[in-house]
């Protein structure tokens, strides 16, 4: 889990810039089993019997699932089903809320991030997060991107890092003329891409996205979706979304969560996105994706 960032690893980031090198979207890394269901051979995150309480409220109940490396996994479900809570468990952002209790394990590359020896600060550098509402720092575009690298002791050329991150977030051409401009002066979609640039600038392995397009207009959302597909070359991405079409468009796998009558969010169905939307196994999944509730 704890790893030292070296320059050879950051150099590899440039590979993600070439759109032509992208393999086709419909080849999730998995092995098809005879019964039609597939198995994740190289999981990067394994959620193992996870339960979470906010004070007395049991919010997430006994969730187990794995996320495949360098794929996009979508978490969908109606409001209050625990999907954002689950997402925030993966980089221990829930620790910041008073009264949260977590049971079970989340293993990232085999190491349980809820182990007592693990420092949540280090977890958050290797597992970045993009939030629902664009939240750039009220500083210059350059500083927005450089901050994370600087506090994490980045020793390389900062100008290059900032440019690379902004290029990778498809924002460079729009802002290269004035990197000193405040991040808040950008449009909503640009702000969200700046937040993505900021997140990938610290060289994470995993990027979590919590409804990243819900505050954006359709065109800006589309650009973010394209970006997510490109970033999946480099990073493992978990995205929470309310938008079923978005889940179908960007993800390789989809997990559907639902709160049962007692209010506890549980995993209902999880599988390859193409199968999930065309041939759901569970009645509740079918009802949800056909718009009968939610």
């Amino acid at each position: 889990m704890v790893r030292v960032s070296d320059t050879s690893a950051t150099d590899g980031v440039l590979g993600g810039l070439m759109p032509d090198l992208r393999p086709s979207i419909s080849s999730p890394r998995g092995v098809d089993r005879p019964d039609g269901r597939d198995e994740i051979v190289d999981p990067v995150i394994e959620v193992d019997h996870l339960d979470l309480w906010y004070g007395r409220k049991h919010a997430v109940g006994d969730v187990s699932l794995s996320f495949a490396r360098k794929q996009v996994t979508a978490l969908i479900g109606p409001s209050g089903c625990g999907k954002s809570t689950l997402l925030r468990c993966i980089n221990r952002m829930n620790d910041l809320i008073p009264g949260v209790r977590v049971q079970g394990a989340i293993r990232v590359d085999g190491a349980n991030i809820y182990d007592r020896s693990i420092d949540p600060v280090e977890v958050r550098r290797t597992i970045g997060m993009v939030f629902q509402k664009p939240n750039p720092f009220p500083k210059s575009i350059y500083e927005n991107v450089a901050f994370g690298a600087r506090i994490n002791g980045y020793r390389g050329n900062m100008d290059e890092l900032v440019e690379r991150a902004l290029r990778q977030a498809a924002l460079w051409d729009e802002v290269k003329g004035d990197l000193k401009k405040s991040g808040l002066a950008l449009s909503g979609g640009q702000q969200q891409r700046l937040c993505i640039a900021r997140t990938i600038a610290v060289n994470p392995d995993i990027v979590l996205m919590d409804e990243p397009t819900s505050a954006l207009d359709p065109i800006a959302s589309q650009r973010i979706e394209d970006l997510i597909r490109e970033l999946a070359e480099e990073f493992t991405i978990v995205i929470v979304t309310h938008n079923l079409q978005q889940a179908a468009r960007v993800s390789d796998r989809t997990a559907f969560m639902l709160a049962s009558e007692d209010g506890v969010g549980r995993l209902v169905e999880y599988g390859r996105t193409d199968e999930f939307f065309t041939n759901p196994k569970d009645d509740r999944t079918e009802a949800y994706i056909t718009g009968r509730f939610g």
Binding site: T126, F147, S182
Partner: protein, 301 residues
Amino acid sequence: MAAEQPTTAAGRAHLFRPNQVLRGSLGGIFIVLGLASIVLALGMLVYLVLDVVLRGAPWLDWQFLTSFDSRFPARAGILAALAGTGLMMAMTLALALPIGVMAAIYLEEYARESWLKSFIQINISNLAGVPSIIYGLLGLTIFVRQLGLGRSILAGAMTMALLVLPVIVVATQEALRAVPSSIRDASLALGATKSQTIWHHVLPQAVPGILTGNILAASRAIGETAPLVTIGALTFVPFTPQSIMDRFTVLPIQIFNWTSKPQAEFHDLAAAGIVVLLAVLLTMNSIAIVLRQRAGGGRRR
């Protein structure tokens, strides 16, 4: 079943009593009352300021600002009090600002919710309302006597720092609370520690609010007389303080001293002193406004 409800809009019209005339005139009375209150409050203030300025103006000259107090009104000046007030304010803020801001950061960002935190919180608010003479007695007991600082400007500044501390803590806490949590989340999600997040993002955003709180606190302190009289500031000081252990006087004490003399000329001198005090106060407030705008200006451009 109630009486039959009319089914058309026109049929239901008689159920309403719009009473436009009464409601309109009530609104008018409300506006007039508000306006009268402003005129009354501002009028008194304008009268007070005009009176002071008219009486003090003839005495306000370079000689007044650069001379020490004297038995003769024509030769009396305000230098010692001005220097005392300036030094006292600088020392008070130098002591109270770091302590107050750090205390507020701890309470707001680190302290867990508990009965102890609530207890401290309530008592900080209470302390802000304690009569200033109590602080004077505290200063006299602890700083002047126990610590043996004597009736020095240092003992005075430490007493004043105690007096303004609650105001600074509360204002800083409010400023910190106003920083959106999304900024904290963004920083923490990049692998910043809590202290890095506070230092790089929360505190800079809270600076305008903290500055305002501090200027308010200083404005309160600059007019305080009682605690300094209690710890034994002098009323007649023919020197400027040369070290922080010197004895001292401040503007309000000097003004009070002059008003309590029998000769009418000294009363006019007091008016001149008030004008100087008001000028110092207004200057400080304007500096605060400029600093705020500069700090806030970096946000959006």
